[in-house]
Symmetry: C2
Subunit: 495 residues, 2 copies
């Protein structure tokens, strides 16, 4: 998705109409996004207090600030996920990023911080897609560079604190394999060029890689893309996708395709856009380093940028400010504190002080600097610990134990194992204990043609599966025979 | 390619203009294809006697009837392939089939018989693509059925006599992997929707899988799609593609993309269309079993179909026939004998006798039946011997020895090995002795970003490569240590 990498800031649209697509976000005449209108247009729902309360109750966790303060404000069928979860049904999380820039800015961290919270609250597995293919197709970027950026960005994602025991990170180029490709094909067959043009704004000048790409972002919403995690049964797991609301069109398409390819419609939990440093209608741009705070910025850079560039709702003179108070509607320091300050009481106090004029612009900026600096320093420390071996551990397609990815994890994550790691999936890599398809060849259900039977299932095995097992047995026997021979020789030599 | 599976027969176009695309073939007002016009329009070249003589000289083989009788009549840069070969340069062959039907008809065998001859004459490796993905996207076919048909059709292809030591057959769905996908992406970025619409006739109602498909057929023209065969150097091998001329648009697109992605333009050798049983302007259709001879037909079916349905150039009465002679321009028995009768002298005699009226329609049909029957019986016998294990052998992505695929092969092909076989490629499967990229990061050359260095190369290794090797070494050492431990235990137990 083009804007996964570049969380769009709002800007006024010349025509006065707001435009929100995965590639363009422009506010209405006043430069602002009318989120209520967006929810209405897209046909998604607003997250209400009752739903938040249900989430808190079933997870036993206090809602994340992004949730309780309305940054993640819209959804599709999140209530159904919660209902299913209340009944003991399993689901997994799917999010992603388009790796087109070297360093991430604060806005890029929002979905990952929130996803980590969701994962820890619900204790479920997570897949994170890095769309190096998409970045190559859309940007003036070499494939080798897109692939390198995918690994670099993965380090920042891992630094957000994910656990490798239930988190799989993949680059599309690395992972592309039969089970993934099967889903891409099935989804692609459901969408015409005209439909894709309507959803994504393609034109005759779009390259055919771009036109063919959306199913690649849609596919990970179906668990049988990942037999090494979830087995081969598309009906076995629901999926919940945390993302910014501009990605909604991708997943509307995915949800339309879902019943036709025999899968659950993925549920969505959608965020507002992160406001840019220079003001809500400005842009955070990699070409202008003063437009955003990056995760690589030093404490001095953070302080300088906030003081110089953070758009202020303060008044022209101290006298006027004391009289009218700061304008919370436009003040970026206030808005960012709402994202990153966990302490509700302290936040309320700051808001009251600043809004009443008791607190000056320089003072609220100081609060923001003091909030951001330790957070970014901690991120940098965490990232420094993410070695190549740790990245390999998250990228590894070694089959997992299905059950072990759900519920409480005991102790620390294991150290990355030594030895070569494969990043590519396959039909033969199937998680142990994964659910097996209930009925083969169901109506309109093509989810069962991935071919490889899940290990440990009690379904009748196909001919080719039986053959494969027989062959594996033969190989194992041969190996054993060879080992025995070797041992005998060694024994003879030892005597 | 939509017609790889369904070698198109010619039919009159209502507009009177001939149309030849990978999906539609219609002759001009008279129902016939004007091949000279086609060569001119497409911008390819005619194969002349001098080029055939050069091929015979450099290979030391008499030209195949399809070549010396002009069935394979057009080319692109075939002369350059021959020149390079004369200088000792290597190349590989690439052909394919769209697996949409259960049984192949005679027209389907043409490219494979000819490709086998090319392979044996030039002693080079061959890759055969089965586009199960394409058939799924275009036809009302389940993916599982397209995949099954790919394996079934592979048996007929193998029965044409290919040698597994230098022939790799793959289904797109099975093989889809990083090195393949890298080439698909690079080609896709070079082609706009408008261009693809011009070349392939896509419309707004085409599904986005169809729009995105052409690069998947183009990619195998680049050797680094197959590191397990050819290594990772796109510059190391030229490619020659035997195909019917309706596939020319695919490979025009491929040739346009080639320099932009750092590869050789593939050369082409192109055939006319195989005439349908009921006459050149009829259609061979799977829904009408009397329209073609299938490789599954019994001798009785062959005899009956030829006698009943083969369009005859004979005259209405014996008297008229004796007087005017048979019409060789339209007689299907005569045309088919030109394809399948190897003996030039006998063929000439038949042509003279039939054309002069000395031979009657029933008699030339008898000649055809006697020519076809043993050929089809032999095909059926050969196909019966193609076990699943043999198919696996051709599909296997186990790395080959590069050099061993060129030049004379000694002895018979080995029996298929036991044990599980992987059909999916990967960056880590690299042929031994394969050429390595000469210079990294050359101008416009993205052929070197596949990542995995070829084994045995003397190029400086990348950091990650060195790391991988170190890891592999560690693993090998661990294994050795374990084996030694086991042996010691066994020795102890034996004492």
């Amino acid at each position: 998705m083009s804007t996964r990498d570049d969380q769009p800031s709002e800007s006024a649209n010349a025509g006065g109409e707001q435009v929100v697509t995965p590639w363009d976000v422009a506010g209405g005449a006043d430069g602002k996004i009318d989120y209520a209108k967006l929810v209405n247009e897209f046909g998604c729902s607003t997250i209400d207090d009752a739903l938040i309360a249900r989430i808190e109750k079933v997870t036993g966790c206090r809602a994340h600030p992004f949730l309780r303060r309305g940054m993640f404000f819209a959804h599709r069928e999140l209530d159904q996920i919660v209902t299913a979860y209340e009944k003991g049904e399993k689901f997994y999380l799917y999010t992603g990023r388009g790796p087109s820039s070297e360093a991430l800015h604060l806005g890029h961290l929002i979905p990952f911080h929130f996803t980590r919270w969701l994962q820890e609250a619900f204790k479920v597995p997570l897949v994170i897609q890095l769309t190096d293919d998409e970045k190559f197709l859309w940007k003036s970027l070499k494939l080798e560079d897109a692939r390198r950026l995918a690994r670099e960005n993965a380090k920042d994602i891992i630094a957000c604190g994910f656990d490798p025991r239930r988190t799989f990170i993949f680059s599309d180029v690395n992972y592309m394999c039969t089970p993934f490709y099967l889903n891409v094909l099935k989804i692609a067959k459901c969408v015409t060029f005209n439909q894709a043009r309507g959803i994504f704004g393609f034109s005759g000048e779009s390259n055919i890689g771009q036109v063919g790409f959306p199913p690649t972002q849609a596919a990970p919403a179906f668990p049988d893309c990942f037999p090494h995690l979830f087995g081969t049964d598309k009906k076995s797991l629901r999926c919940l996708i945390p993302c910014a609301i501009d990605q909604d069109p991708y997943f509307r398409m995915t949800r339309d395709a879902a019943p036709r390819i025999g899968g659950y419609k993925p549920a969505l939990i959608e965020s507002r856009f992160f406001p840019a440093l220079k003001g809500e209608s400005g842009k955070m741009s990699a070409s202008d380093p003063t437009s955003a705070i990056y995760v690589t910025d030093t404490p001095k850079q953070i302080k300088d940028k906030v003081n110089k560039y953070a758009f202020s709702g303060g008044r022209l003179t101290v006298e006027e400010h004391r009289e009218k108070g700061g304008d919370l509607e436009v003040d970026i320091s206030w808005k960012w504190l709402n994202f990153f300050m966990d302490d509700d009481d302290k936040l309320r106090t700051i808001g009251e002080a600043y809004g009443s004029g008791a607190m000056l612009s320089g003072e609220i900026k100081k609060e923001l600097v003091e909030c951001l600096t330790p957070m970014i320093v901690a991120h940098q420390e965490a990232r420094a610990k993410v070695s190549d071996a740790v990245v390999d551990q998250f990228f590894s397609t070694a089959p997992r134990d299905f059950d072990s990815m759900f519920g409480e994890l005991v102790g620390d994550a294991p150290a990355p194992s030594e030895g070569p790691v494969s990043f590519q999936g396959g039909e033969n890599l199937v998680a142990s204990n994964a659910p097996v398809p209930a009925v083969a060849g169901g109506e309109g259900n093509e989810g069962d043609d991935a071919g490889a039977a899940a290990a440990g299932g009690d379904q009748p095995l196909s001919k080719s599966e039986l053959k494969r097992i027989a062959k594996e047995k033969q190989i194992a026997e041969k190996k054993a025979a060879k080992a025995a021979e070797k041992a005998a020789k060694a024994a003879a030599a030892a005597q």
